[in-house]
Symmetry: C2
């Protein structure tokens, strides 16, 4: 027995608190009574938990629904746009991007720092730490609570924990990114989530498509085309990141198997021949903006460079589509901007090489989020713990049942969980 | 109201009958009391349903468990090896194979007819019909009830229904195989299940690995290497056949994108360069037996031909593994026999090209079933309806609730479902 009562009560409240938050997230505008109906909890329990979530700025309570009778049960509940924000970080070959994304998807303080991150993990980490510290300062200045940090990396990331096995384009081998960053910024390793940038971008794109409404593909390959090329697979509405989290490495599909050496050690990989650097090089353009200017001016060399990349991308994607039978390819990252010039040669190549294409032509579309997808996905992922276990944000001092060391918190402003709320059951 | 009582009772019995059969299938040797515990049905209901299933030869009841007390509840129940068998048919480029597989996996009457099935659907269908008729005659002669027919085809098969969109190696376009076969053999279209041979082979291999016990891979790519090459993807213990059933087309991965024309219309496909015909051609061997003799004698040309195929196979599989992050590749079909010569160059290629291979080397193993996998998978799939809905076998005359036209039955011997069994609830 502890002074705060038997552990079981806290476990129950923790669980119910998550139930209530999920009910509100799934149905913005729901009333307290509606939450009670959907969760099966008593109205009294729901009310005390809603009060707790409102106090923590996780839920916002608005207006009164036009109903007779007393009380505030008729008010409308939704996730709070002023609650905790996820701080997203993308470490790309040629830039570090940061942004803050709130529970309702609103973005603030997006910032891109151009830099060549091929100069080794130590320098890149200093750069990243500087950007994270800047973002935290800006958040504090504006009174935006930060609920966690998500980092997108173009490499193989261990599914649990923050270790990057290999990021060929950064020249990284075995970097414990969560630990290394935690040494440099006021964030605990447990508040850092590290993920593959292509997977995070696909998740963000899926969320954006759902928010936009209309008919959205339930299965697609999202291609993140930057200096490196990665793919995020969405199958039946869910991310499939491989059996151990190392899937989606489209950039290393051999499109010219005896071709030039790639940074991964193999030969003729897609990204070596059709990645951003390869295209800029062939097109004779300094950067993507310059390339787009050439393309707009119908420059023959630039157009041919992009069309050639489109055919190579089609060669690689034909294997992915022949294997997984996905109806849609979404072009993200730099490829989203190049979509008008890439789409035709890519679609032609898929039409020739995909066995089922005669009956089911593959749809090729540009990403809604473009180059912002990965950093948004990183930020959103950082909020996932709060959404599934809001008590971890409300009372960070109290570890959940069966918690590991990764659940203690130190980022941003929190409400201490002194317990005026009676245990729900 | 019908003469046999309200529809609801039949629906309930149908459901409970399936529950009881599943309980026995999942736990061979279980007692009637054990089935009651596991299903939550009353002992009386279980007993009447078990009697019904025993009478239909779906369940076998054996011995007495050493227990005190009266009655036969202590006897041991298992699927009956003498019950309905699935008739499996494999239509390959160079043979038609048939076999009967019982509920417990026992195989009878396996038969291979060598033939060149590239002579158009009409002639091939005559050949297939002849083999099916032979198998049905032999089954009738030996008193083996046939519960359904499954056909494995090397092509794109529509997930629901028996239409083959395209089978490049057979030269088939849009063949309604279920309808066409039903015109030629005493089997209703609804009793014919048509599937892609690589998918059926992967399912059979998964079942065989589970039956063999020990540690088995939960995720693997099963490669069916014949004249054509297909893959069956097992992810987390389940077949993934693509979002519309057209997945697994490994044979059309471009391993030499500007290479020779393939039967699919594209260029440089894996099966064009590393399929059985390509290997035999390069090795100067008449057939696979002759090739194996040359390999056993360490013939340099033959060895080089197979090693070259192994490298090409590795090139294609590196894309599949980079995409899906599967730990294991299973070589099936002819490739299973060539495993000793294929494995090294294949493993080398995967080691170079798969990004995660340094931490997680890809395991390459030979299939347990080899060339028999597809036909076994076809036979087993034909029994699936009986296992999920045993009443469709016991009382074929009575359609299930919401039945489509494909559930009427005419194959083999059945027991008429005159209803001495009281409805279970």
């Amino acid at each position: 027995m502890t002074a705060t009562g038997p552990a079981g009560q806290h476990t129950v409240r923790r669980h119910n608190c998550a139930l209530v938050l999920a009910a509100v997230a799934n149905e913005p505008g729901v009333s307290r009574a509606g939450v009670a109906t959907r969760t099966g909890l008593t109205k009294a329990t729901v009310s005390s938990l809603v009060d707790r979530l409102v106090l923590a700025s996780l839920i916002r309570e608005e207006g009164r629904q036009h109903r007779s009778g007393p009380g505030r049960r008729g008010t409308s509940l939704s996730l709070s746009p002023d609650g905790p924000h996820g701080l997203g970080v993308e470490i790309a070959v040629d830039h570090v991007t940061t942004c803050l994304v709130g529970l309702t998807g609103g973005t603030r303080h997006a910032h891109v720092r151009r830099a060549d991150n091929r100069d080794g993990p130590a320098r890149t980490l200093e750069r990243v730490a500087g950007e994270v510290a800047d973002a935290l300062r800006r958040a504090e200045h504006d009174g935006i609570p930060v609920g966690g940090v998500g980092v997108a990396v173009p490499g193989l990331v261990e599914a649990s924990g923050g270790r990057v096995h290999r990021a060929p384009n950064l020249g990284w081998h075995d970097v414990d990114l969560a630990e290394e960053l935690a040494c440099r910024v006021p964030v605990a390793p447990g508040e850092l989530v590290v993920g593959n940038e292509a997977n995070l971008a696909a998740l963000a794109e899926l969320a954006a498509l759902r928010q936009a409404g209309g008919e959205i593909p339930e299965s697609f390959v999202h291609v993140s085309g930057e200096v490196g090329i990665g793919a995020g697979l969405v199958l039946g509405g869910e991310l499939f990141d491989g059996t151990r989290g190392f899937g989606g490495e489209l950039g290393h599909f051999p499109v010219r198997p005896r071709g030039p050496r790639c940074s991964c050690g193999s030969r003729g990989c897609l990204e070596r021949l059709a990645g951003q650097d390869a295209i800029l090089d062939r097109a004779g353009a300094r950067d993507v903006d310059a390339l787009l200017a050439l393309l707009d001016a119908a420059d023959r060399t630039a157009t041919s460079a992009v069309r050639s990349a489109g055919r190579l991308l089609g060669t690689a994607l034909s294997s992915a589509v022949n294997l997984l039978d996905v109806p849609t390819v979404v072009l993200g990252g730099t490829y989203a901007r190049l979509h008008p010039w890439l789409a035709d040669p890519l679609t032609d190549e898929l039409g020739t090489r995909v066995l089922s294409a005669r009956w089911h032509p593959v749809e090729v579309r540009a990403s809604v989020l473009g180059a912002d997808a990965a950093v948004r996905g990183a930020a959103t992922t950082a909020l996932r713990t709060i959404l599934t276990d809001p008590e971890s944000f409300i009372s960070p001092g109290r570890p959940p049942p069966h918690a590991d060391s990764r659940t203690t918190s130190s980022v941003g402003s929190r409400i201490d969980g002194g317990s005026g709320v009676s245990p729900a059951s």
